[in-house]
């Protein structure tokens, strides 16, 4: 289980968090159709580091952006999600 440092609550067990989607899959309302299609339906899905949106669902319920290695599970950085990252 990951130990996730919530920007608001400090280190908490992963069981309190849920994964939502990757940052690059967020669709802005004004996005052109092709871009919206690509963001909705495709992922880079790297076997390395990606930026992901998680939520502290069973804690403070805030959204956060976690930069994480998907093979080693190393957490590189965590920050509070700004409006630009909200789905």
């Amino acid at each position: 289980m990951l130990l996730i440092a919530c920007p608001h609550c400090g280190p908490r067990a992963q069981i309190e968090f849920t994964y939502e989607r990757t940052v690059d899959s967020v669709v802005q309302p004004a996005a052109p159709a092709d871009e919206a299609m690509e963001r909705l339906f495709t992922r880079a899905n790297p076997r390395s580091i990606d930026d992901e949106i998680w939520r502290h669902s069973f804690g403070c319920r805030a959204w956060l952006v976690m930069t994480r290695h998907r093979a080693t599970h190393e957490i590189v950085a965590i920050r509070a999600a700004g409006p630009e990252a909200l789905p």
Binding site: M1, Q14, I15, T18, Y19, R21, T22, M37, E38, L40, F41, T42, R43, A44, N45, P46, R47, D50, E52, W54, R70, A71, T72, H73
Partner: protein
């Protein structure tokens, strides 16, 4: 004994071997060095890739075929599933595809001259509410219209099939009935990889292990070969068949797929006398229970639901699967768990697989199997072989093209929308 007798497995050969102290056994496939070029290269030596190679050789008569495997064959999801085989899907495109595969399973041991231990012991889906029973009835009707066996069962019929289910009215998950596909069941997962490998090898397919693809050789835009840890290999066509690593291997060609890699876990208990007769499934809970031929109770549950390429899962998810299984079959609580494992599943954005061409000429994709790839092994190999040999899809995999996400023709059994998790 001549070479043919040695290479073909039979009861007679086994008896003859016994007289000689079983010293007649030979490796079941060669360990060749990669050649400089092939007609078709398949990336990934799992069940699907090996089946594809076998049908390319057997059905389409091709001989210059290589299967490249970064590790050892069958060591990915082919060795990390719960070995269930069934075709009980609601949607016609899905159940026709999986039924084609189920019919292949029924004679696969004969076809491969290798015992894959297919055991049609019945696949039972439980219904826990009126809504569940309506859904199961609808699914069963849809299957029967397509000529696939499905029987809606009353509560008493379910209790008779699986006497150890908790049928009490106060059960955590009350059971109101079920839907069974009697021709469904289980198979021996390793034997599927080994049987296809041996049969493909005997037709001249080169199975090259410890050979990881690190990039593609391009001519203009087209893929005309692969770069590997064992050198450059040219190819007429290249087929990706790497399950959870689809995103990574397609990414080497600059492609972004409608796939996200997540972990799916399963576990097995110590071996006990027969206590679970068939396959027990609850798709409302997402719980799968069966008993292996060795006696261990095999259980699986939800995916971990977050992206991971690590072949290990989270104990909290294992615990969830076990809690569901024990609620359904309370006697399981007395057993000791001996092993858990995890595979990297290629979760697609409509829950259905992708078999067909990619936007890159010369490069083909077979992936997006989510957590349901094992049962599809023969049909996946058959249709992918057709696609790779002819450059055109087989009628069964034509609807499962990569461009269906752009055209809107997704095949979403669960009606979830463009999400790889929450499926």
């Amino acid at each position: 004994m001549d070479a043919d007798c040695m290479s073909r497995y039979s009861a007679f050969g086994l008896l003859r071997g016994a007289l000689g102290g079983q010293r007649h056994w030979q490796p079941a496939w060669r360990d060749p060095e990669p050649k400089t070029s092939y007609d078709i290269i398949i990336i990934g030596g799992g069940g699907h890739g090996l089946a594809t190679a076998f049908y390319l050789a057997k059905v389409h008569g091709l001989r210059k075929i290589a299967v490249l495997e970064k590790s050892w064959i069958g060591g990915g999801n082919t060795g990390r599933n719960t070995t269930l085989v069934r075709s009980n899907y609601r949607q016609k495109l899905l159940h026709d595809f999986f039924e084609f595969g189920l019919k292949m399973w029924e004679h696969l041991s004969d076809e491969l001259n290798y015992n894959v231990m297919f055991s049609p012991r019945g696949a039972l889906m439980l219904g826990h509410s009126d809504a569940d029973m309506t859904r199961l009835a609808e699914r069963g009707d849809a299957m029967r219209v397509s000529g696939i066996d499905a029987d809606l069962l009353t509560r008493d019929q379910v209790a008779k099939l699986e006497p150890l289910l908790d049928m009490s009215r106060t059960a955590r998950f009350p059971i109101m009935g079920g839907l069974t596909q009697r021709r469904g069941g289980t198979a021996r997962h390793d034997a599927v990889a080994w049987g296809y490998a041996r049969a493909a090898d005997s037709l001249g397919v080169d199975i090259i292990q410890q050979c990881e693809v690190t990039g593609y050789i391009r001519d203009g835009g087209a893929v005309v070969g692969v770069q590997t840890t064992r050198g450059r290999i040219a190819a007429g066509r290249v087929g990706i068949c790497v399950a959870g690593n689809s995103g990574h291997v397609a990414g080497l060609a600059g492609l972004k797929l409608p796939i996200e890699s997540q972990t799916l876990q399963a576990l097995v208990t110590e071996g006990v006398k027969p206590m679970v007769n068939g396959v027990i499934m609850s798709q409302s809970l997402h719980c799968y229970i069966s008993q292996s031929d060795k006696g261990g109770i095999v259980m699986g549950g939800d995916p971990d639901n977050w992206p991971s390429y690590a072949q290990r899962g989270q104990p909290m998810v294992t615990g969830h699967a076990i809690a569901q299984a024990i609620a359904l079959v309370p006697a399981l609580s007395r057993l000791r768990m001996v092993r858990t494992w995890a595979g990297v599943t290629d979760m697609s954005f409509d829950g259905s697989p992708i078999i067909g061409e990619t936007p890159v000429p010369g490069l083909y994709l077979n992936g997006g199997w989510c957590y349901g790839g094992f049962k599809a092994t023969p049909a996946s190999g058959w249709t992918y072989a057709h696609t790779l040999a002819t450059g055109k899809p087989h009628e069964l995999n034509a609807p499962f093209a990569l461009d269906r996400y752009r055209s809107g023709a997704t095949i979403d059994e669960n009606g979830v929308g463009p999400m790889p998790n929450h499926r």
